[in-house]
């Protein structure tokens, strides 16, 4: 999979939230988006998912332009901002509703995914009664359950305990090793450096710098 973001500009009620963004993303890599609050990290993620359409420019995924040839990437899992689910449904039921849309996976796959993120598939508790960490885990489960080629995680470690952070970190690395693209944002710069291959620095809706992480730099040198 190859994603090309070309001169992507987005204005929202006269505010320039993305300003001429150019970026190329390739399979088998983890990309970290870093920047201050409101810098445009989440907007770039939304643009790649097809949730926002450009004022000018485009997002091209394997030769298909979002909003023109396709509405959304054909294989994407995303957790953007807060995990959004039907508050009266249980975790399993929420995932089932989402999974039924594409019908790619079975109930046992959903159960397996819930176990992988550390949730109890038999838990009948409604989503509204979940703790912050449980909500976050369910959001991650929804993003990964269909084994997407493109995984987008916005602040995936929010509200997670140490054990869960380790679990999610391993999950992300597993995805990368399966030749998928992972895009994540995180406020913890140490975490980002530890996981990612490339860091994209964003400020005021513009890409300021794209660099290899230290780990990746060493790999390239070798």
């Amino acid at each position: 999979m190859k994603i090309i973001i070309n001169n992507f500009t987005k204005k929202l009620s006269n505010n320039l939230v993305l300003d001429n963004v150019n970026l190329e993303l390739n399979s088998g890599k983890i990309y970290g988006l870093v920047g201050k609050n409101g810098s445009g990290k989440t907007m770039i993620m939304r643009a790649i998912c097809g949730l926002i359409l450009p004022t000018s420019g485009y997002v091209d995924i394997d030769g298909k332009v979002i909003g023109k040839d396709i509405s959304f990437p054909q294989s994407v899992g995303a957790l953007i901002e807060n995990p959004g689910f039907i508050s009266s449904y249980s975790g399993f039921r929420n995932l089932k509703v989402l999974a039924q849309i594409q019908n790619k996976i079975s109930d046992s796959d959903i159960i397996e995914t819930l176990k992988v993120v550390g949730l109890d598939p038999k838990d009948k508790k409604s989503f509204r009664k979940y703790s912050l960490g449980m909500k976050q885990k369910l959001g991650i489960a929804a993003a990964i359950m269909e084994n997407p080629e493109l995984l987008i995680l916005d602040e995936p470690f929010n509200g997670l305990d140490e054990e869960s952070v380790d679990r999610v970190r391993n999950l992300i690395i597993e995805r990368k090793n399966e030749n998928n693209i992972v895009i994540l944002s995180c406020h913890d710069s140490e975490e980002i450096e530890k996981i990612c291959d490339e860091i994209v620095e964003i400020s005021l809706g513009k890409i300021k710098n794209i660099r290899l992480t230290e780990k990746e730099g060493k790999n390239e040198e070798n």
Partner: protein, 274 residues
């Protein structure tokens, strides 16, 4: 498209609010039946026991909850139709957007498919929530009262020959009843769908739920004030009164459809999901 449609319809019907809506109208139907049916049975007995009885036989076609607008329960039912219709699934679009569930949907299917599926599901659940208790009312009436052709004398009391589809009533009363139930289904569904477009502009779930009620009441009052009673939705749905013509029904239905669907859809496919 079919998968998301099936999903939305399932959500529209398998929820507590759908049952609450049916429970409210079910209570009204039972209340009406308990008051009306014994009276009709007694009246029919007097009729059969007294050759000089001045009246007509009470039959099921003229005594289900949608057959008049003369009784309190019927008036309440026709007043709260928008609430009953919108309650099951009318604010689901608002909740999908505000709870963020729409992000999970729009990364799995085309937005246009989702919007159309949502419209159909809101329409069907709204329509069914209103007509299922009405069908129940007709079944109760049929269980206790004769189901036979109406007497011609009924034309001088309730269904006047100038009324919409009156000819059909005296020849095929069952078809007439089905037509009115169908009409109620369509307008209840369309009224429920009025909640979709306003979702883009309102920031409270309850406002989304009461908006169709205002459209229902104000459009009725507006047309009645203009002396266009045939375009008042309140009148169109009841089998008595100034109830319009087939043409006014079709025009009103098309207007409701256009108003509830096109702004919602055209705005929705372009709107950013934030």
């Amino acid at each position: 498209m079919l998968k998301i449609l099936r999903n939305e319809i399932k959500r529209g019907f398998c929820n507590n609010l759908f049952f609450i809506s049916m429970l409210i109208s079910g209570i009204l139907v039972l209340w009406y039946s308990v008051e009306r049916i014994p009276f009709c049975i007694e009246s029919n007995l007097s009729f059969s026991n007294n050759a000089a009885f001045d009246g007509f036989l009470e039959i099921s076609y003229t005594n289900w909850i949608g057959s008049h607008n003369m009784y309190l329960q019927q008036n309440i039912l026709y007043l709260i139709i928008p609430f009953l219709a919108v309650l099951p699934f009318g604010n689901s679009f608002y909740l999908d957007i505000n709870q963020g569930f729409i992000k999970g949907i729009c990364t799995r299917t085309k937005r246009s498919y989702y919007l159309i599926s949502k419209y159909i599901a809101v329409f069907l659940s709204g329509g069914c929530a209103v007509i299922i208790p009405m069908i129940l009312s007709f079944m109760i009436s049929s269980a206790f009262l004769p189901t036979m052709l109406p007497e011609a004398s009924y034309a001088f009391t309730n269904i006047y020959p100038v009324y919409k589809w009156a000819d059909l009533f005296f020849v095929h009363p069952f078809l007439y009843t089905l037509l009115y139930i169908g009409l109620t289904f369509i307008f209840s569904g369309l009224t429920a769908c009025m909640s979709l477009f306003v979702t883009y502009f309102l920031n409270k779930s309850f406002l989304v739920l009461i908006f169709p009620f205002f459209i229902y009441i104000f459009s009725s009052l507006f047309f009645e004030l203009l002396d266009l009673d045939g375009f008042s939705i309140r009148n169109v749905l009841t089998t008595t009164g100034e109830q319009g013509t087939t043409v006014s029904v079709v025009i009103l239905a098309l207007f409701f459809f256009a108003f509830s669907f096109f702004p919602y859809y055209l705005f929705g496919v372009k709107k950013d999901v934030l």
